[in-house]
Amino acid sequence: MTRFLALIALLMAIPVAAQNALPASPYAHQQLEDPVQEEKARSLMEELRCLKCQSQSIADSDAPMAGDMRSQVRERIAAGATPEEVRSWLIERYGDWVTYNPPVNAVTGPLWIAPIVLLIVATWLARGLFRRRKRDQKDVS
């Protein structure tokens, strides 16, 4: 039974495997020759979202399309583009969705502002509390 199921699973996997019938893009699995450029490309790839497997970065993903994206990122950076130029090239096509480092705008604004507001409120509350405690201590002594 297990073998039969394994066979079925294997047969089902054939169409999926077929997208790998082609060789990967030149820089999908190969680093750039220049270590400085490779470092730039690598840190950008970790912040770009894979389109097929939506919870992974393209640096983590084994999807063929993520490989194609990695190659595009490396080739563009090798050609002299800055990481931010490559990022905005993708945002232009897929929206902010594609980057794990979203820009500040009306929608993402609260996410950035909320921690600061909370910190201010917490400081204010703590101050009140400490003052009261000091006063209490004075009363006791």
């Binding site: 169409p15 077929a18 019938a21 082609l22 893009s25 389109l51 993708l90 096509r93 929206g95 969705w97």
Partner: protein, 175 residues
């Protein structure tokens, strides 16, 4: 301290609970819409995927007449499901251009022999370059392009029976 302040934590928890519950109940939406809708098709030129059909470039998509651009692959199961609908659109007189994603000529020819060939032109995109240019995130996807080569609509996923009249209407409006 005011009495009503006591209720603030509960209210905050209620809001938090509602947000989480809404996120759990709402069906998962994985569709990433292209931001290229309303913009002209980017410059590209793809070689022919099979011998029987010519290659595809940007110039072929701005001919004064609305057209469809369908991204497909022989390894894609939903592409088989939408094949009859593409043939139906072809019979309705729609010009359909194909982009074969990450595919080999032999596999493409095999796929088209089996499920029908509705395409006037087929370009082969072995490295997903044009797909990335279009803001497409998978196969199958279909773009409606107006006569000036501007993308007016994107259909993500396979074209079902009831999508055909919708697409015909959008093509008509793009005229």
């Amino acid at each position: 301290m005011n009495r009503w302040l006591l209720w603030v934590p509960l209210v905050l928890f209620g809001i938090f609970f509602a947000v989480v519950a809404a996120g759990l109940i709402r069906p998962k939406d994985n569709i990433i819409e292209s931001k290229m809708i309303g913009k002209p098709i980017p410059e590209f030129a793809l070689p022919a995927a099979i011998e029987q059909r010519p290659a595809l470039s940007r110039a072929d998509l701005a001919t004064g007449k609305p057209q469809l651009l369908n991204i497909f692959a022989s390894w894609c199961v939903p592409c088989i499901a939408e094949a009859p609908q593409l043939l139906e659109l072809e019979r309705a007189g729609v010009q359909i251009n194909g982009i074969a994603s990450r595919d080999t000529p032999a596999d493409i020819a095999n796929f088209l022999n089996r499920w029908g060939n509705p395409y006037v032109r087929i370009g082969t995109d072995v490295r997903s370059i044009v797909q990335l240019e279009l803001g497409s995130s998978g196969v199958p996807e279909t773009f409606v392009i107006d006569g000036n080569g501007v993308i007016v609509h994107q259909h993500v996923g396979d074209i079902r029976k009831d999508d055909v009249p919708k697409l015909l209407k959008i093509l008509e409006e793009a005229r």
